[in-house]
């Protein structure tokens, strides 16, 4: 899938595929090629002294996955009644991270031509961790940039 999308980079009919997820009533998209898994509730082990965005670590079939709380990472209010425990697992440079969300959405295939840059007035934090948006029927889909999202040192400085 990855190879076909790169080959057809210039083709007008190119489609991009995203896994969508809901966090605090906002729809986000993560490129499907970086998604390993969508998980239900998991036991998360807290890591003392870790940055606040890090919810802890969990065991995914023998691999240690670092859990990132998307609400905290995006500067959103804490979810009332605790975390739902749903998360998407992404691979970044061979390390696995799970992004904790409110609920998982559908997988969407969208034309590359419809991709738009972020509005200039968007919160700088969001500017930093998103790459752009899609206008969907009645709502907006914000595309997350995994590499920036997992760069917590930068987040602290911002």
């Amino acid at each position: 899938m990855t190879t076909s999308s790169t080959q057809g980079a210039s083709a007008p009919a190119e489609e991009r595929v995203y896994v969508t997820l809901m966090v605090a009533d906002q729809l986000f998209g993560v490129p499907i090629h970086s998604v390993q898994d969508v998980l239900g509730p998991q036991r998360i082990n807290r890591i003392p002294l870790a940055p606040v965005e890090v919810a802890g670590s969990l065991n995914l079939r023998g691999r240690i996955v670092t859990a990132i709380d998307l609400r905290r990472r995006m500067g959103l209010p804490e979810r009332a009644g605790g975390q739902s425990g749903m998360s998407v697992v992404v691979d970044h440079n061979g390390e696995l991270y799970s992004l904790i969300m409110d609920s998982a959405g559908e997988v969407m295939s969208l034309p590359a031509s419809a991709f738009e840059p972020n509005p200039a007035t968007l919160d700088p934090l969001w500017q930093d961790v998103t790459s752009g948006i899609y206008q969907l029927d009645g709502r907006l889909l914000v595309i997350l940039e995994i590499e920036r999202l997992l760069d917590l040192t930068h987040a602290k400085a911002a």
């Binding site: 036991r43 082990n45 002294l49 969990l58 065991n59 023998g62 240690i64 390390e95 991270y97 040192t153």
Partner: protein
Amino acid sequence: MDDLLREFLTESAESLARLDVELVQLERNPNDQELLGNIFRLVHTVKGTCGFLGLPRLETVAHAGEDVLGKIREGKLAVDARAITLILTSIDCIKSILTEIERTGTEPPGDDGALIAELNAFAEGSEAPEPAAPSGVAESAASIADTLFMDGPAFAPTPAAAAAKSAGKPAEAAPAAAEANQTIRVNVGLLENLMNLVSELVLTRNQLLQMVRGRNDNELGVPLQRLSHTTTELQEGVMKTRMQPIGNAWNQLPRIVRDLARDLGKDINLEMHGAETELDRQVLELIKDPLTHMVRNSADHGLEKPDDRRAAGKPEAGRITLEAFHEGGHIIVKIGDDGRGLGLRRIREKAIEKGLATETDLAQMSECQIQQLIFRPGFSTAEKVTNVSGRGVGMDVVRTNIEKIGGTIELKSVEGKGSTFTIKIPLTLAIVSALIVACADERFAIPQINVIELVRAGSKSDNAIEKINGTPVLRLREKLLPLVSLRRLLDLDAATGGEPEEAFIIVTAVGNQHFGIIVDRVFDTEEIVVKPVAPILRDISLYSGNTILGDGSVVMILDPNGIAGESGATEIGEERGAEEAHDSASGEDRSAILLFRAGGSAPKAVPLSLVARLEEIDIAAIERTNGMPVVQYRGQLMPLIAIDATASMKSEGRQPVVVFTDDERSMGLMVDEITDIVEDRIALEISSGQAGVLGSAVIAGKATDVIDVAHYMGRIFGDWHKPGADRDHKRVLLVDDSSFFRNLLSPLLSVAGYSVTAVESAEEALRLRDRGETFDVIVSDIEMPGVDGCEFAHKVRAGGAWQETPLVALAANPADLQRGQAAGFDDLAAKFDREAIVAKVSQTLLNLQGAA
């Protein structure tokens, strides 16, 4: 690059590494024909293979080298430093060409004419121009280096080659061929992959075991047991494939030391023991550089120039010893030299100059602590920076690198005698045994290698955590152990309420510095697979990794080094080494013991400090007065006494006698035979009901009766009684100017269950007070030279830490009682009444407890 060439490269690398070692050996033993034969064969093999593979440049160099070796073998040339240097240069040239081939796959262009001419000239006749030779060699070597060392990696045995090193000597001729067929070369990546898979398997196995443990499912139990065994065996097997002899990291050292010795004008013998000791290749790679650095250091800074050595009365040739062996789950590597040792004065000066410590700091440090300063960043003891070891890499880097892999490094140095570094490293880093602990409901793993002991502490137990201005400490066997609260360190306070009633303390050490980590609970130990933490957590220094436990949960692995750094424990930690030295000084430890036989077969012992002399008395000289045997001894009559009624005196010849003296009075104890004098600890294990025996102790490996000299003194000179019952482990300070009484009362009070410190004067006692020592009761003589007992009591009562400590006086007559009480003594015991002394001490302590 074709397979044949690649194989040639790895094989040649092994051969050349061995050549380096063997040539240096040859220089030491020029007449070793077998060694010479080996070297010749190795060079010959390289040459032959080059020709076969079509590498003309390599072939000519190898050929010229072989010619020289051939002449040496035929006895036409002598083995001297120049010959060896020349051959080593040709080997360097071969190595650099090989490096280039490895990089590009083809033989690089270049001219080795100068070197070949050199070699040929040398082979032709020994009259080759001597002075021109070294510079010519250097030049040609330098030009080769210029053309070849662009940025290619240094040529070293590739890991794959080294992994297959167990193949033995593949480059050697016929006999090795059959052996070579038994081994194959395996890519290191494959081994790493296998190791990872086994790690996963271990985790899954642990998980399964945990699940089954909870229920009574016999059906699963048996196959799971088998799975468990097989997994363990597989793990060990795969681990073994990663093992390499430590000699692989040492290969280059003889050459380095030889070159250094030449450069520095020193004569150095390098001794290596235990090169076959195996350890994980990952660990091996990581200690290679620190080891090389330390050997360079020893050669450069440790060993003196031959002249200085001669002046110091040492052999001209300095010695560097490398030693490796297994101990527990660790490898111990020792690097020692017989050089000048660490100059304390220079370290002090350097430390002040570099701002690492102040004069006051240094004044309070023990020798051992001062020596450890060389591990501080920014410290370099060499007075002049040489191009050999002064390359900006200090011992602090060595220490950091070793601690990074969970190892420790210790230093022992005696000025003028030499230094020894002891490195302790784990066998492997991948799977370790760890202690699982909990704090505020969070679990953590601590590698077992870091745990020295576990102490249970609670308000009800003997070991209570005390606080100094909020800083927790523990009194552990009378030593103050700084504590670190994991709860506080990890900000876990918010999660649960205050600190629990009971806690556990994990005693650990970083370098020589001991400290304790307070945790809430301790579970069992588990074999864990260490996994690195995610990059976003790397800057938390408290964790060295994370792992998955048997129940599937993820826990963090605590790093004592990080904890010490984070909490400043290294600053407050006390030097155990120094304290241990104090121990032996205070006499609690080992003492000289006289062993003898008398009346019965069990060996008997008496502290040598009590013995005045050993004599052999002619039986004919023994007289009797009042039915008691006596002998005229130094102008006095000395009574002789048998050990017990069953022992009989010899009827003729000479009678061995142990003489005890107190002031004017002497007594001879007749024994059958004096057997030995040993250094050992007297730890009385069984208190004896038998008269004349204090108890039994294991001395020199045998159960031995320790003689109560007081009993025999009493039988002759007065009325003495039996020791009292067991007491709590209270600390008693005994002040008495008579060494006889100190030696007599110390064991007596020890047997009664007290921990005794004996000093010979009031001044010395007050010094102990000023040092911060505390005691539960002080027993002091009244009659003493200098500050006497009454004055001492005054001083104690006048103020200071001992103001409230009960004082018991030892007095020769009851008239002293009033004087003593006026001076501040709480009680008084007759000096010669042993039972009374013990009784008074215990009564005083009881009163104290009642009052409190």
